[in-house]
Symmetry: C2
Subunit: 159 residues, 2 copies
DNA sequence: CGAGTGAGTTGCATGATGAGACTTAGGGAG
DNA sequence: CTCCCTAAGTCTCATCATGCAACTCACTCG
C-alpha cells in the first residue's frame, strides 16, 4: 500500500502493513517462498517494473525478511532468500489464498488446492487457541495489555 | 497497494490483493470489526483522507465485504457493517497482528495481547491440517489441481 | 436565523508507479 | 578483438494515486 507510515496507529497491524503493505511486496515474498529468487525471474514472473522491484527488494532486505546472498562472483549475482522473519508471514499469504480461492476462483479452470503433503488434508482456514485448541473467531478474542496485571483490566473487544 | 490489477497472476493471493491490497483497506476493515463503522469515526480513527476513505468504502461495499446500512433517515446516515465475506478476512488481520507484535512491538508500552476470552489461551500463529491436525509450514503444503485426478499429478511445491 | 453534524465531493500539489531505455561487468562466438 | 548476450540494476518521463483542505447538501437544535 504505502511507503509511508500510518501515523498515529498504535496497532501492530498498521506497523506490519508499513513493512509488507505496499503494492507487490507480498507477491514478491510469495515468489521467494516458491523458489523464484533472482531479480530477472521475479521481474518476469510478476510483471512488476524493474524500478519498483529493486526498491521493494532492498526494503525487504533492510527489514530482514529476505537475505541477499551472492550465488556467484564474477560477475556478482544475487538471490533473495526468505529469512525466518520472512517465512513467518506465510500464514498471512495462505489465508489470503484460501479467501481468494473461495470468493474469487480462477476464471478458467478451478483454483489450486493447498493440501498437506503427506496426509492429504486441507489447510484449516481457522485460527485456534493454543490452550483449549478450539477455533476462534472475531468474537472470541479479547485484546488486553499483557502479563503484569494479568486478568485485572479488560480492554477493547475485537468485534 | 493498488487500485490496479496484478495482470497475468493466476494466483488467488493476487486476486485477493486486488480487493484488499490497497492502502488503508485492511485497516478500515479492522476498524469495522472493532465497531468503528461510521464515516466520520473511521476518518478520525485512521487519519485517512475523506476522499480515499469514500473510495475504499464504496469498493468494499461493491465487493460485498461491507454492507452500507442506514441507521437513520432524515437526514440519511449510514454505517458500514462487515459481511460474512468481510469477516472471513479476520485471520489475515490476526496473523498480521501477531507478526507485527513479534517483530515491531509498540515503542511505548508492550503490545496488546490477543487472548481467548473464556479460557485465557493465546491465538496460535500457526495453520493446521484439517485431517491430522498438525501444524503446517511452507514446506508441508503442496499446491495441486483439485479433485478429479485426485492424487495423480503433483504440482508446484510451496517452498 | 445561525451554528452544528454527518457524509460525502472537488481541486490542487506532491508522491508513487508503469513503460521502457540505459549502464555495468563479465562470457562466448566468430 | 569485436559484437552480442545475460544479470542486476539505474534513469527519465508521463500518468496515476494520495494528502491536504475547502466546499456542498440536508437536516436538526437552540
Amino acid at each position: 500500500m504505502l511507503n509511508r507510515t500510518y501515523p498515529g496507529q498504535a496497532c501492530s497491524i498498521a506497523r506490519a502493513l508499513e513493512v509488507v503493505g505496499e503494492r507487490w511486496t507480498l507477491l514478491i515474498l510469495r515468489d521467494t517462498y516458491r523458489g523464484t529468487r533472482r531479480f530477472d525471474d521475479l521481474q518476469a514472473s510478476l510483471g512488476v517494473t524493474r524500478g519498483v522491484l529493486a526498491s521493494r527488494l532492498s526494503r525487504l532486505v533492510e527489514e530482514g525478511l529476505l537475505e541477499r546472498r551472492p550465488y556467484q562472483a564474477n560477475p556478482a549475482r544475487f538471490e533473495y532468500i526468505p529469512t525466518a522473519k520472512g517465512r513467518e508471514l506465510w500464514p498471512v499469504l495462505m489465508h489470503l489464498l484460501l479467501w481468494g480461492d473461495r470468493y474469487y476462483p480462477a476464471p478458467n479452470g478451478p483454483p489450486q488446492v493447498a493440501e498437506h503433503t503427506g496426509c492429504g488434508g486441507r489447510l484449516t482456514p481457522q485460527l485456534t487457541c493454543d490452550q483449549c485448541g478450539r477455533q476462534l473467531g472475531p468474537g472470541d478474542v479479547t485484546l488486553r495489555p499483557p502479563a503484569k496485571q494479568a486478568r485485572s483490566r479488560r480492554a477493547a473487544q475485537l468485534l
